[in-house]
Amino acid sequence: MLGEGILKGLAETAKNFAGSYVSKERLTTVQYPEERIAPIEATRDFPFLVYDGEDWQAGLRCVACQICEKECPPKCIYIEKSKDKKPDYVGKPQIYPARFDIDISVCMSCQICVEVCPFEAIKMDTVFELATEDRFGGLLLDRSKLAKSNEYYHTIHPTEAAEVDARLAEEKAKVEAKARAAAEAAAAKAAAAPAAAAGAPAKTEPPAVKPAGGAE
């Protein structure tokens, strides 16, 4: 009969109207600034640089190998190598980025830099409240803005960070074992040299970087 479908539709909207007052399933809106949804662990938006220890400049894992710069699809990473070297987490002297800029107005959050990085130095952040008044400068993040502690990494991506730490520890152990073996061999041979160059940066307390936005 004419009008049947219309009445059915009216019933459906009435159901939803009433339902939106009682059922959380229907009214899924989250009132953003006051309410926030629980952060999803896998979320990614823009990259940041991980550092170990307290001093971000000393602890930066990045060795300025420029692989991410080359692989970045929109070419938003800009790296300048340093002239000198500093020891990395296993104590091997490495060059470090004298300049490391990411233009997040260009970045498309594809995570390819993370995938190609052999040093676990660049990871994806979850901060999304990045509005700025300066269109160019404000969205061009330099080293100091990009550097975030490993603890921060643990708070936003705990599972992934744990895996990374395990991998790094394994690597470090391997290196240390090698060094020790070498040292022992050397000690056995010359019986002189002191053991190990293990100035390893243990997990001291770095400055707590506040997990901004979305973490609550």
Binding site: G5, N16, T43, P73, M108, C110, Q111, I112, M124
Partner: protein, 395 residues
Amino acid sequence: MTNPATEYAVGQRVGDARLDGRMVVDPDSGTDLLEVAMGPHHPSTHGVFRMDVALDGERITRLKPVFGYLHRNHEKLGEGHTYLASMPYTDRLDYICSLTNNWAYALAVEKLAGQEVPERAEYLRVIVGELTRVQNHALSVGFLIQDMGASGTPLMYAFREREKILDLFEALTGSRMMCNYMRFGGCRVDATSEWLDEVRKVVAGLPQFADEFEQLLCTNEILMARTQGVGVLRPEVAVSAGVTGPALRASGVIYDIRKVDRYSIYDRFKFKVPLGEHGDVYDRFMIRLLELRESIKILEQALKEIPGGPVMDPKAKIRNFRPKAGEAYGRIEAPKGELGFYLISDGGPNPYRYRVRPPSFVNLTILEDMCLGHNVADVVLILGSVDIVLGEVDR
């Protein structure tokens, strides 16, 4: 083939493809023609799309689609980037279904390089691909009804469901829309069992959504009057014009690449292909709803059967990926139709030629034929029922 009668018969040919199937409209009916440029800033052109329309009263006598406003030379970018770096760009083709775009590209590269994909990765691909199809169909139907003037109610319901699916995508891939999830030889990350449980929960809720949607719309007299007999696309014309996806099946042609190519692991699932009879807007609308239900079935099966194991082929290379010289065309049944990637390799790190065969773009070929003789109001509907995304049309 349950219904041989509706199968597109061999020998049924379109003579002069250009003229056949075109409704002849008398341009000189006495009153003056009104030339209107619908778009690029028009509420229902689904992006920056323009139709140069000549109207006799409100009847369409000529319609020329004009696009390219969003053209960013995607293919040129592809030729300038490595194989891997093009993957995130495919997300931005049909920005509603980034995962199926990933899939099509990954499939083409795998064909080019002869790579294998682990079983679990195939299952994950099917799961995310069908979730993508569900949300695309829900959304496109919502937009269609929105174009019909329904103050947004069905669209909002569609968005409500899509939200849940996008949350799943975010939990798996890290991003809601630009997923960049698949890799040549598998998927980027593995799904946890909690994620799969979440998917099961969402999938269990989908049939109820489909029921509500049907209750709200399918028998609505206004909707039926508006859509039935409007924008008829005859099967011969549809085949000749290369229309694919739900629009083709709404015209009664059995052609679903999931069934034809049996790519990935689609031969393991039991699902049916709904067919329309009239090829009008209502059929295209209904076929989407029915396909949505079939996708739910596939999802249920895939979630039940998903095996363990790795998600990446251990032999696959992420960096310095250089396939041997040669070419390949890989295609999948994307929610909007056949999405193909044609790649030519010269042995270098970048593809020598990187071509996207977007379904929306080819489906638009026939737009004028479907619209002629109809009203302005119908044009909007017909365009909505073709379901285009300008990111894909313009590339």
